[in-house]
Symmetry: C2
């Protein structure tokens, strides 16, 4: 048993938000909602899927016969490059702050195969995804200060297409989360003379209790302040601030880390483990971004089984996040999960 | 069409968080997850329900034969009054901020009837709920600085028991949301010499576009910064800072406002409309709480129908909330919804 099995709160130094941890609560009975399992026998190609090679999408466009990754502009993007006319006459009252927003939304298909999620791809094909992320980050960050690369995996995480894919939303304002991480990392460097995540990585490696996986360039850890049951932080061990700086060696090591982490996730409950994940990089218009370190957050909702998730609802929305399982217990489970995917191995 | 039908962001002045608004996006097709409808033919008394009068709960305790509201200590509360021994030797590193947490969690049954949600209760029985909220607020705020009163309604909002009930979690630290609202309301009063929500109420009443309902003492509005599709703010028109100050007239008017709002919610999609709602009151240990005004937030997840909700996932978790429907359109729908519950009237 870890030293943290009592009720307490922990502070997320990147956002300033706190999390309430109630380890004893994991034993309560559950009669509430359960989720459907992801279908496990999808075809390799689905005629009706708008993301499969060769198929028709919205507006009569046909996908090419792609064989690695494939990227297109989101047919229903939340952001578009056009500035609206009305945007010139906006409110100035502090209670009605409003500003126009422009940007671009793209969809990244990870593979031509309809039925292969990230952990089911060989590492070299995950490396193609990493390279695609980098390419579009570089392209979009030349134009926009804030580039969000993320994946919603599983219907429970609002994913509307089972075909493995992620998204990129780029815009010129800093989103709320980037603004918070920017302010806190900057403040930390001013106060301590060192980089927040560099210091954090050092401490976690030395301590070991929350480390899930590491290789030469990347650390996967259940962060001390994790809010979701099996939340992880995937962070560069090197002084890399954004995708544009990623070397070949770092990209290859990143693909390995993703392969291991997503495989272990699936093996926790022998199911396709849903999550939302995404990258946080230094805004591209900073003069000095030395307080930044590139990292990804994985927010998976499952708590007790393939069908019972954690609900971040009343208390969590109106007060602060609450968790039952301690981060240390979650780390132990992820550390001990097999590196052979449950659909392949004989665990 | 409102003046806001272009892509923009709005700032929540209570928290400082922004929301991305993409009204054009409401037309995209939806093939993703759908939710189950709430069962509509529950019995008035369920032998197996741990909240029904006379039934057995966990630990062999039996509920009394209550006939109005009934309150008990949560058998699996996230907070308990005991301070753990380990809490004396906590970390001090700024990257590992941790503090012990103690408090109390109670469950409030709204009615002995297993099958009656708030909108289905007559106003005088909703008034009993308001009085119960007040009573427990007064009792707990004598001991704790931060008392969270909230309701998770519907399985999709993590509610594990269909019997109509809410919760109270009280503790001595200020939760993240209260901390933010405290700081922002205080700052506003320092800067403008007036109360943030008092000014906001005045502006919204004068404008009218986002007003859903009002009576002598309460205003229901889709706030300018609403993140959830049909989010509302229920706010006192009077200088009331917490439940302890509520007069009889204000309590009665509050019951009326809740009756109307929850009835309209159910009538939007002719279903038991899920939501998480909760109260924000001034912390009880302030010397001066004149910058506070008591209010409730309603966060309902449904977007397009009784079974299709908004998913706050990848972009929302990693960047900021995003909405499709504009707050003004949502307000119009709620304003036009019938005040006769769909199960009773002939709309
Ligand atoms: O206490 P309950 O109703 O069992 O639990 C519900 O509300 C709590 C407070 O918002 C949440 O922490 C839980 O995730 C949710 O399932
Ligand atoms: O763009 P998609 O995959 O259709 O939509 C999904 O991801 C978006 C970005 O996180 C969310 O705004 C939507 O609620 C979700 O359903």
């Amino acid at each position: 048993m870890s030293q943290f099995e009592f009720t307490h709160r922990r502070k997320n130094p990147l956002t300033g938000n706190w999390v309430l941890v109630s380890p004893h609560r994991n034993n309560r009975p559950w009669l509430g909602a359960t989720e459907k399992n992801a279908p496990s026998n999808l075809p390799e190609h689905d005629e009706t899927c708008p993301l499969c090679p060769g198929n028709q999408r919205a507006n009569d466009v046909h996908n090419p016969d792609y064989d690695k990754t494939f990227v297109f502009t989101n047919d229903f993007g939340a952001l578009t490059p056009q500035v609206a006319e009305q945007a010139t006459q906006l409110e100035t009252n502090p209670l009605f702050e409003i500003e126009a927003a422009t940007g671009e939304c793209r969809v990244i298909c990870f593979s031509p195969k309809h039925n292969k999620t990230l952990p089911e791809l060989p590492a070299n094909e995950i490396k193609d995804v990493v390279d695609t992320w980098k390419q579009h980050y570089v392209e979009l960050s030349a134009q926009y200060s804030c580039v969000h690369i993320f994946e919603n995996k599983g219907a429970v995480m609002g994913c509307s297409q089972p075909h493995p894919h992620g998204q990129v939303w780029a815009h010129n304002h800093l989103s709320t989360e980037i603004q918070l991480e920017q302010a806190n990392q900057h403040q930390y460097q001013q106060t301590h003379g060192s980089n927040l995540l560099a210091d954090y990585v050092k401490r976690e490696i030395a301590d070991g209790e929350r480390v899930v996986y590491q290789n030469d360039h990347w650390l996967v850890v259940v962060p001390f302040w994790a809010a979701w049951p099996f939340e992880t932080l995937l962070v560069s061990k090197d002084d890399v601030r954004h995708f544009g700086q990623l070397t070949e060696a770092q990209a290859t090591a990143l693909a390995d880390a993703i392969k291991v982490l997503t495989t272990r996730y699936d093996n926790v409950f022998n199911c396709s483990f849903p999550y939302s994940m995404g990258w946080h990089c230094a805004p591209s218009d900073l003069n000095d971004d030395s307080h930044w370190r590139m990292h990804a957050h994985f927010y998976p909702p499952l708590l007790r089984s393939a069908t019972v998730k954690k609900h971040m609802v009343g208390y969590e929305m109106l007060a602060e996040s609450q968790r039952d399982l301690s981060p240390e217990t979650a780390a132990k489970i992820l550390k001990n999960a097999s590196d052979v995917h449950y659909t392949e191995g004989n665990q």
